[in-house]
Symmetry: C2
Subunit: 218 residues, 2 copies
């Protein structure tokens, strides 16, 4: 298709704006999502939990998280990289099949570790770190990531928002230091609850508060 | 003007894309700007310099900054808020008429201070802080800000980029954790050199490196 138009940019923008506004009237697609800001945290596998806290140790729930069955534990560990240590990193439960440490770019500079942006569970080739608990210290070979930006939702939510599992969307944050976050992955499962996860660096840059509403842009 | 069109969103987007691409061919407006990431820092007035470093003290230049005549000093001070202290905050020279502390939202949480987003020099009603130097300690009543995102440029640059002093633009950062920064103020003066200033929170959130090129979007 070749379309030739002879008009200035302002006119094009005006036409586009009117057409999109008009289309939006007929759309019932939802765009607003609540935001959950993820601070640095760690998931432990059973074996590493034993090595750090002792045989038979059971994590204590501090508070439930937005995703069903997930919780912040009372327990914390210290993590140490080549350049420095970050104390009291919160453990999230329950135990997982692989130990995973989720940090921010700000943390990376303090630790001296160069972690890639990854989806939770995709740990191949990621750097390791030293983890210290009350009963022991371990050094994992891999498992340190910057978590990708993502939105958990149910299949019904996916229909309501007009998105599909694995799709990348953008998120608009309003405010004096607002902007648009790119590469936000949609994750759909009937085990999920609607929540959008960004890290503390994203929240600090855009002055986003826990529970604030962001807008999905496709 | 009322325009009625009967077509789907994909067609509208296709038309818009083709028109904008076509317009761009005839445009010589520049969009690329180099980025300078501003870490937390402090500007001192003469009086406060004396109270912190002693009578007759002269700052020592560590390295020049992108703006002509401005420099990072060898000297640092500690800053302390109700909740905590940040040591070794870099002083930028030369002295200014008002002492000003530029921090990030990440720093705010550590210090327990709630600073507003402001343009440099606009300090009315901003919070104070305690500053400690080798020869003394002072508590200022106001002067702590989160600096707004801004782009320094000459009048000739303003013509080349098609922008005006005080105009707000957006900045596109590419990459895995990229996005768009809103509310970036254009500052035009023949005393300036072209440089775009964002803080370490913005840089960390978007994984932006010093000197990386960002794109101005209007």
């Amino acid at each position: 298709m070749v379309i030739r138009m002879n008009c200035d940019k302002a006119t094009v923008e005006q036409v586009t704006k009117l057409v999109l506004e008009s289309l939006q009237q007929y759309s019932s697609i939802k765009t607003e999502v609540p935001v959950g800001v993820s601070a640095r945290h760690i998931h432990l596998n059973k074996n590493d939990l034993v090595r750090l806290f002792g045989e038979g140790y059971v994590l204590h729930q501090l508070k439930p998280l937005s995703q069903p069955g997930q919780y912040a534990a009372e327990e914390t560990v210290d993590i140490t990289g080549p350049k420095g240590k970050i104390p009291k990193v919160r453990i999230l439960g329950p135990e997982r099949s692989a130990t995973q440490v989720e940090i921010t770019a700000t943390d990376m500079r303090k630790l001296g570790i160069n972690a890639p942006v990854r989806t939770s569970g995709d740990l191949k080739g990621t750097p390791g770190i030293t983890i210290t608990g009350p009963k022991g210290e371990i050094t994992i070979d891999e498992g340190v990531i910057i978590s990708d930006r993502h939105i958990h939702m149910t299949p019904a939510d996916a229909v309501a928002y007009g998105v599909a599992d694995g799709q990348k969307v953008k998120l608009l944050a309003e405010g004096e230091k607002g902007g648009i976050l790119h590469n936000v992955i949609i994750r759909v499962s009937d085990k999920y609850a609607l929540d959008c996860h960004i890290d503390t660096d994203d929240a600090s840059a855009f002055l986003i508060r826990q529970g604030q509403v962001l807008h999905i842009i496709k």
